[in-house]
């Protein structure tokens, strides 16, 4: 099993519902977020293009954060989801430095926190909170090993990219372009 997410940059309007839904679902402390919206504009006025996308931990197959964690707190869980075991984390911040996506933050309680693909919901057969709440339905989640999962199906029909491919992390969040 390999959990993955695909986000349609052509449909996303940057409404930030995913950010607020995540904060409520996961009790993210005020001032921090596990997911965020990025708008990138390219070109010269008036010939430009803006890409809008919702970003989060990429749950990489080759995660620098897992590799550099001195205590093993950062680890791969079921389906390749990258998690942090709170009570094993010493808050050294090595993983924060190593992540090319800037997806991690130090929780005020001292441990490092980040997106879990809402594993607690996924286990119950639900979608991650961000995916469930998205009003434009621009996010797809599921098991890449299952050809019938929403994420497998959309990746078969659309062009996509990943972020920072040069980092060699083999991310599992795909951006439809």
């Amino acid at each position: 099993m390999r959990y993955a997410m695909a986000i349609d940059t052509k449909k996303c309007v940057g409404c930030s519902d995913c950010v607020v839904a995540c904060q409520t679902e996961n009790d993210v402390p005020i001032g921090y977020c596990r997911d965020w919206v990025v708008e990138v504009t390219d070109g010269t006025y008036p010939q430009l293009e803006t890409e809008i996308r919702s970003e989060r931990c990429n749950h990489c197959d080759n995660s620098p954060c897992v590799r550099c964690c001195p205590t093993g707190a950062s680890h791969y869980a079921e389906g390749g989801i990258v998690l942090v075991t709170k009570n094993e984390c010493i808050g050294c911040g090595a993983c924060i430095q190593s992540c090319p996506y800037d997806a991690r933050y130090t929780h005020p309680d001292g441990y490092v926190d980040k997106c879990t693909f809402c594993m607690h919901r996924v286990k119950k057969g639900m979608e991650p909170a961000c995916v469930a709440v998205c009003p434009t339905k621009c996010m797809y989640f599921g098991d890449l090993d299952d050809p019938n999962s929403p994420v497998s199906k959309i990746l078969k029909t659309r062009k996509f990219k990943v972020l920072a491919p040069e980092a060699g992390t083999k991310p599992n969040v795909y951006y439809l372009i």
Partner: protein, 679 residues
Amino acid sequence: MIFFNTACPRNCYSTCSFKVGIEGGKVKLVEPQPLNRATPEGICLKGLSYVERANSKERILNPLIRKNGVFVPIDWEAALTLIADKLTSFKENYGSHSVLFYAASGTSGLLNDVNLNFWRMFGGTTRVYGNLCWPAGLEATHLTLGENKHNVAWDIENANLIVLWGKNPAETNIHQMIPIEKALAKGARMVVIDPRRTQSAEHADLLIQPKPGTDALLALAVAKLLIEKKQTDQAFIMNHVLGFDAFKQEVLQVNIVEAARVTGVPLNLIEKLAHLMGTIQPMTLVAGYGMQRFSNGGQTIRCLLALNIITGNIGKPGACWHYADLQGDVFSKLKEPESYFPDPKADEPFRRVIPTARLGETMLKLSNPEIKMAWVERGNPLAQNPDSLKIREAFRQLEFKVVVEQFMTDTALEADLILPAKNMFEQSDIISSYWNPYVQLKQKVVEPAGEVKPETEIYYLLAKKLAFAEDLIQQNIPEPDDASIEAWLEKELKPIEELSLDKLKKGPVLAPRMQEIAFSDYRFSTPSGKIELYSEQAKTRWNVSELPGYEAISENDKSNFPYQLMTPNTKNRIHSQFGNLQVIKVLDPFPYATISEIDARQKNIRPGNKIKVFNEVGSLELKAKIDASLRPGVVVIYNGYWHQEGACPNSLTKGQETDMGHGTAFHDTRVDFCLVSRK
């Protein structure tokens, strides 16, 4: 957790239905309500933030009185006695018009009418007329089509050409993006017209970025090309339109090359827009509210609407003038926009009315009687009305100010007495929308927090305190208990047989007798019974030309301030609401002004620098955000920032009315800016 059906009562197009999860007497979760065909995907980020808003530690939960400059708690009995004493004394000494009653769009609902019942019993007050938002466009539509209605929200899916003119649904009406996406998937084309490259523009085939305030001329230029190329719908015009020939004569005078210069839109783009409109049917033209917040706003909207009319895009699936749909407003005794006009009957208790667009200046000048006391509810005029610092000055001269509020807004900060306001979960009420055609019940799902009392209860207790006649109180104000509130609402529903509280509790109900395709019967309640391109009422009521036309904003030419200030709405707030919440602050941590990359380079301003934006009205210091895609010559500051944050854009706007409808010409504002510091 128990879930209840409810609906969002904010001043917003979407007016979402949603389900709210309650546990332990607290709001815990907000979930989509698929029964509303306009908003089945669920609520926006502000709706999701109700979990924080309802439980916020910053909420005002008991009456507060200002003592030596600080607010201290006061009990209800003492607060109400104080108000009653003040009201009695001001009325006796100066007359009831020495009291200003100010209410705005903070929360909608039928129970809001109770406030006017109370103040009428009191003997009247000074009131405001007009509106801060949309009335120039409402009146323009009303003059032309006789009524403000449009096809159901989901009908855009049937359009082959969608024109978003000055509207950015991606931020302000996200539920409109879903049928738009469906239309685009079926091959529809989309044009966005906006000085900004908005998130919605990313979905368009063509983006046109005119100089703000010149939209009318752009529309007239397109009309001329359509007429010259014979791409108008002659049969439609012959059967349904009054004044086409006169309009044609006027439009043929437009010099297209000059129009390109004035609007700043290259000729080839004007031709492209005309070509799309002339060759693709059906077209839905969605007009936003920004263009009509100019002193030429009403006439501008008439020019845009003319494009629908001459191409026959009214009354058919996918063919629509999409401005406001008031079909869900089945309770209004007065049809919009007349409700914003000053009351013509001078013997009414509210015979003294002052323009909301010029609130500060008018308050300062009023005499006989002077305003001594103000009562503000559902509004934050010290942040949201133009020239807001002048309003603050006027407020500070009053002897007594009562503000009913949930949070410590700029207006609440100036109060002598703050009364805690209910939130949307603490009292049932019935709401409608100006975009989707549903009547909805916003249910009471929790008891009021702390010592909060709904406004109806405040008025009830105050009426008793003032010893109004018992039978009058009974007729005019519901008793505070839930059963009486429900009975009151049931009584309001009674004339409409399709509606009942039981039915509304199950979910949203389509407004009875609404037209799914507006004007599909081709009946227009204008004086002539036709679509009036030529409107005598435009002349008699507003002293503008009988025909749609372009009038340059005089300020644009004579001002020493070279940049145009725009104050649009952001997805992060509804006007000045929500911005104080922590979940919103994560997304919008500090106020900023957006300037174009080209202008920034000229002034050597870099991202994140502190800049000063100023004009003859006032000045603001805030961070600069540099946007490569913004039209040069424009400064954008989202409206809704508070003075407390140091960045309320209404420090810069002038109190001025629109050409029709008693709207507010916020956008007739020119500014300049300069670098203050690198950080």
